[in-house]
């Protein structure tokens, strides 16, 4: 008898998470929980100013503090060729400043001491003399003639431009605009924010002079990439470097890059021959580690009267801070932002992207998204609403007219992406029904008569998740595949390791479910391990919703390799030829006699005790999976809101989310990902932003200035599901972790602007703080740019 898949915790089971057993007991093992014998503590001194030449650094008083073991400056790093390090975007970044500081919070010196309090005391004794330079806090200042050159360290760098990038067919798009009945335009700013996982960055470097081996425990979403980077920077061979990423307190893209603190702690351990722990505090984390967004987008859309989109143009101006250190595929300078409009059938498009240095923290990291698609999808859905309004068309109908139809797949976008599956119209229908669209429109009209402002906002999008394939996607030349290694013990229990790294997504639970699905081994019999480069197979890590599309596929493929070998063993045990054997979940049987069979566990035992002649013993294997394409989940998010015209406060009345992420491995976990993502979408729309004053002071360097929603503000979400299996993924799954963060913000913003329809307001840039909404209502004018810094 085949096993009941749900009972063994296979695919489709909302299996409770195994990692919870330690977390609910306070027994997680985060970097700051690790204590090594003889461990020292490191604190970093950061620049209080945004742009200044360093005239002198006096560390003598720091050395006098009892308990101080080492004080490091840029000069000492430079003597070891470690003052600068390569970024993941082919730029360089200062580890400890030598010449200038280029943003507030930049690393200037470090103290290593017996305990963290002493290290902090000693940092305060370091005297740095700065000669202040003019500060640049936005791309407009950056590109102004005569602007001070931020990156004067780079040979040949004459301006503050990071890159120019272009894609699409300009002439064909121009022709489309000539044929347009209506041209719709929109300009907006996606404000800077910080992914802000609850746990900050940190590392413990432990260099053993006797063996020459360096072990680094660190908060990284991509341990193997970090190992490659460390090998490059520290000039140590990879087999002498072990990177361990233990439990992570969230990541959201913030823990992908290489941070100076990691490198400094490594050198400190090499010099002191003691383990050195560095744990960033929250303020340092918010002002110096990778921010996200901060892109100015403008575009226009060529429209036919009947609602058909003929083409679009887009232009992005992105602020990358002082160092271009995004982690993204090397071929694409502004990530996958050009996947915008992929769910619509638009024949012509052209896009220009410009990136600039500013005196702000480096970044532009993919904060819970697949390489900057968030900005693209937000612009897409705001533009689509603006276009529908300009045409006087119903916003749902406008989308439906332009959707790529179910039988039009595979579909090539004008920028070269190949979308391969989806039921966009169906998802929209489910969403409209759930929100009771027609009734709400009536309700809205009636409410307007009573002076109440109701609005409804829709956001629909398909997002490219799961980089590679390796032909097109690489980071620093390393191809974006991923891996899984499965060892089945003789008892039929197993250990699985992958090149991904969970940060709360529940890999320990779901990967075991894939193995259970493929082999019939109960999920509870499978242990999953990730994050240790000495034991895990090489992989590119977890970000950009790539774990299930790539590493998850590798788990299925390695399980199939195991099953293929087990089949040969089964034939041997059953004394029939392999061709006469059938598989059902958990067992092989003889085709002519279903009663005669052997379980996968019996095959495992035989792999170690009774293999056929000529067969290698053991039952383990590894798969490196290079996906043929990205996966393309689809989402339809709809929000209804009420705006109070007296205060500008808006409340979410209802929010429905329809997600099609293909086959769901663990529905409970998928829904958890969606709700978490929607909350970050709400955060972006309502309150979450970081800005800077004219002097380059970061406004948002703690949770009193940088607002994250609590349980009190966060609205409830209603979730719905449509399933269109991914045609190329071995179990039909698509990425899901980030759809809601990417697609969600536009639903909220569109809803508020829909409520304001008729006031003349076409756009309010996020965050939609009550005072901005109020001002828009009062003046009837758009509100643009980041909220100004209030000084009083």
């Amino acid at each position: 008898m085949a096993l009941d898949e749900v009972k063994i915790g296979g695919m489709g089971a909302s299996r409770l998470r195994v990692e919870d057993n330690r977390f609910i007991r306070g027994k997680g093992n985060y970097v700051d929980d690790i204590v090594l014998p003889g461990m020292l503590h490191m604190e970093i001194l950061r620049s209080p100013v945004a742009h200044a030449r360093i005239k002198s650094i006096d560390v003598s008083k720091a050395w006098e503090v009892p308990g101080v073991r080492l004080v490091l400056t840029g000069e000492m790093m430079a003597a070891r060729n470690l003052a600068w390090m390569p970024t993941l975007s082919y730029d360089t970044q200062a580890v400890l400043a030598t010449d200038k500081v280029r943003f507030q919070g930049q690393e200037v010196a470090a103290v290593i001491a017996d305990d963290p309090y002493i290290a902090r005391d000693a940092c305060s004794k370091i005297v740095v003399e700065y000669e202040q330079l003019p500060v640049i806090v936005n791309p407009t200042q950056s590109m102004a003639p005569g602007a001070p050159l931020i990156r004067d360290d780079k040979e040949g760098q004459q301006t503050n431009k990071v890159f120019d990038w272009e894609i699409g067919d300009k002439e064909a798009t121009d022709r489309a605009f000539e044929q347009a009945d209506v041209v719709s335009k929109l300009e907006l700013h996606y404000p800077r924010s910080h992914p802000s996982p609850m746990e900050t960055e940190g590392s413990i470097a432990d260099y053993d002079r006797a063996t020459g081996k360096l072990t680094v425990f660190m908060t990284t979403q991509a341990p193997h990439i970090i190992r490659a980077a460390v090998a490059l920077v520290a000039e140590l061979p990879e087999h002498m470097i072990r990177v361990v990423s233990p439990d992570l307190g969230g990541g959201f893209g913030n823990k992908v890059p290489v941070y100076p603190g990691y490198v400094i702690s490594i050198l400190a351990s090499i010099l002191t021959e003691r383990p050195v722990k560095w744990i960033s505090d929250k303020s340092s984390n918010l002002i110096s580690t990778h921010f996200a967004r901060d892109v100015y987008l403008k575009g226009e859309m060529a429209l036919r009267k009947d609602g058909k989109i003929l083409g679009f143009r887009m232009h992005t101006t992105s602020d990358h801070g002082a160092f271009f250190s995004d982690a993204q595929p090397s071929k694409f300078k502004i990530g996958l932002l050009h996947s915008a409009f992929a769910c619509y059938d638009i024949p012509n498009a052209h896009m220009v992207a410009e990136g600039f240095y500013t005196n702000k923290a480096p970044g532009g990291v993919a904060y819970r998204c697949s390489f900057r698609v968030t900005e693209g999808m937000f612009f897409q859905e705001r533009m689509v609403q603006a276009a529908a309004d300009d045409l006087g068309m119903d916003q749902a109908e406008f989308r439906r007219v332009n959707f790529v139809k179910d039988d039009d797949f595979p579909h090539r976008t004008p920028f070269g992406f190949l979308t391969d599956s989806g039921q966009y119209g169906k998802c929209l229908d489910v969403g409209l029904e759930a929100i009771d669209y027609k009734n709400f429109l009536k309700e809205k009209e009636e409410a307007a008569k009573r002076g109440k402002l109701l609005g409804i906002g829709i956001s629909t999008m398909t997002e490219p998740l799961g980089a590679g394939n390796s032909r097109e996607y690489d980071i620093l030349g390393i191809k974006m595949f991923d891996s899984a290694e499965l060892r089945v013990h003789m008892s039929g229990k197993a250990i699985l390791r992958t090149g991904a790294k969970t940060q709360g997504q529940g890999h320990e639970t779901t990967w075991a479910q894939i193995v259970a699905h493929e082999l019939g081994i109960p999920a509870d019999d499978i242990v999953v391990e990730e994050g240790d480069t000495d034991t895990a197979p090489f992989g590119m890590g977890t970000y950009a919703s790539r774990s299930t599309p790539v590493a998850g596929a590798a788990v299925a493929m390695v399980s199939r390799k195991i099953r293929a070998k087990a089949r040969k063993i089964a034939a041997h045990l059953l004394e029939v030829s392999e061709e006469d054997i059938e598989w059902e979940l958990g067992r092989f049987y003889v085709r002519s006699n279903q009663e005669r069979g052997v379980s996968i566990q019996e095959c495992a035992m035989a792999a170690y005790s009774n293999v056929p002649d000529g067969m290698e013993p053991g039952l383990e294997n590894t798969s490196y999976y290079d996906p043929p394409n990205l996966t393309w989940p689809f989402a339809c998010y709809i929000a209804t809101v009420e705006v109070d015209p007296e205060t500008g406060v808006w409340d979410v009345l209802k929010f429905v989310a329809v997600d099609d992420c293909g086959v769901r491995i663990n529905p409970m976990i998928v829904e958890g990902q969606i709700m978490g993502g929607l909350t970050e979408a709400y955060a972006a729309a309502a309150m979450q932003f970081i800005t800077f004053d004219e002097a380059g002071n970061c406004i948002g360097s703690n949770y009193m200035d940088y607002l994250l929603p609590t349980a009190w503000e966060t609205p409830g979400f209603e979730l719905y599901e449509v399933v269109t299996p991914c045609p190329h993924h071995p179990i039909g799954a698509k990425g899901i972790g980030e759809c809601a963060t990417v697609g969600g913000p536009a639903a909220f913003v569109n809803a508020v602007l829909d409520a304001l329809k008729g006031t003349g307001v076409r756009n309010i840039d996020m965050p939609l703080l009550p005072d901005r909404v109020y001002e828009a209502i009062k003046t009837g004018k758009d509100i643009s740019g980041a909220p100004p810094v209030k000084v009083d």
Binding site: L16, R17, E19, D20, N21, R22, F23, I24, R25, G26, K27, G28, Y30, D32, D33, V35, P66, D115, Y117, S196, P197, M198, E199, T200, D247, L248, G249, G250, F252, D281, K282, S283, Q503, G504, Q505, G506, M668, I669, E671, G672, M675, G676, G677, L678, T679, E680, N702, Y703, M704, L708, T710, A711, W712, T714, G716, F717
Partner: protein, 177 residues
């Protein structure tokens, strides 16, 4: 004979004063010498090796370091260890008994009320303080009680469910007694 070993420093004695405090932690009196500036969170984590209490923000905003102080939730990153002298502190390590999880712990697992787990100990303790005062809270009361604790992963909806799940179980247990 004790096997105690303590290295004696020959460096000049530090002028930092040290105070002896006794804190009842999870039911057990612990007596320790601390610098007056030592934060309670750091005493718990580094001094007493109870790493279930996390430090997230250092500014009393995120609540990852929440512990119960004489039964009331406080943020241990902004309380000095010396302030806890003579008081009772409960941490996540004190929630479960050897054989049984606390219903709040069970609820968080059953309702998928956690993802990365970093905010979870603080959330559970804030929830415990609520349920000790009000065993039959509404959803709004739960949301309000947890509004001093930030979570970046879950979106709170399942955390609220987890607390209501625990409340129901605790009511049933109270009914049996």
């Amino acid at each position: 004979m004790s096997s105690l070993y303590e290295e004696v420093s020959t460096a000049p004695a530090s002028d930092v004063p040290v105070r002896r405090v006794t804190i009842n932690i999870n039911g057990e009196n612990r007596t320790v010498d601390v610098e007056p500036r030592l934060l309670l969170a750091h005493l718990l984590r580094q001094g007493l090796k109870m790493t279930g209490t996390h430090t997230g923000c250092d500014t009393t905003n995120c609540g990852a370091c929440t512990v119960l102080f004489d039964g009331r939730p406080i943020k241990s990153c902004t309380m000095l260890a010396v302030q806890a002298d003579g008081h009772a502190v409960q941490t996540v390590e004190g929630l479960a008994t050897a054989s049984e999880l606390h219903p709040i712990q069970e609820g968080f697992k059953a309702e998928h009320g956690l993802q990365c787990g970093f905010c979870t100990p603080g959330m559970m303790l804030a929830a415990k303080a609520l349920l000790e005062e009000n065993l039959n809270p509404t959803e709004d009361e739960v949301r309000w009680a947890l509004s001093g604790n930030l979570c970046r992963c879950t979106g709170y909806q399942n955390i609220v469910k987890a607390v209501l799940w625990a409340a129901e179980k605790m009511r049933a247990q109270a009914g049996q007694e």
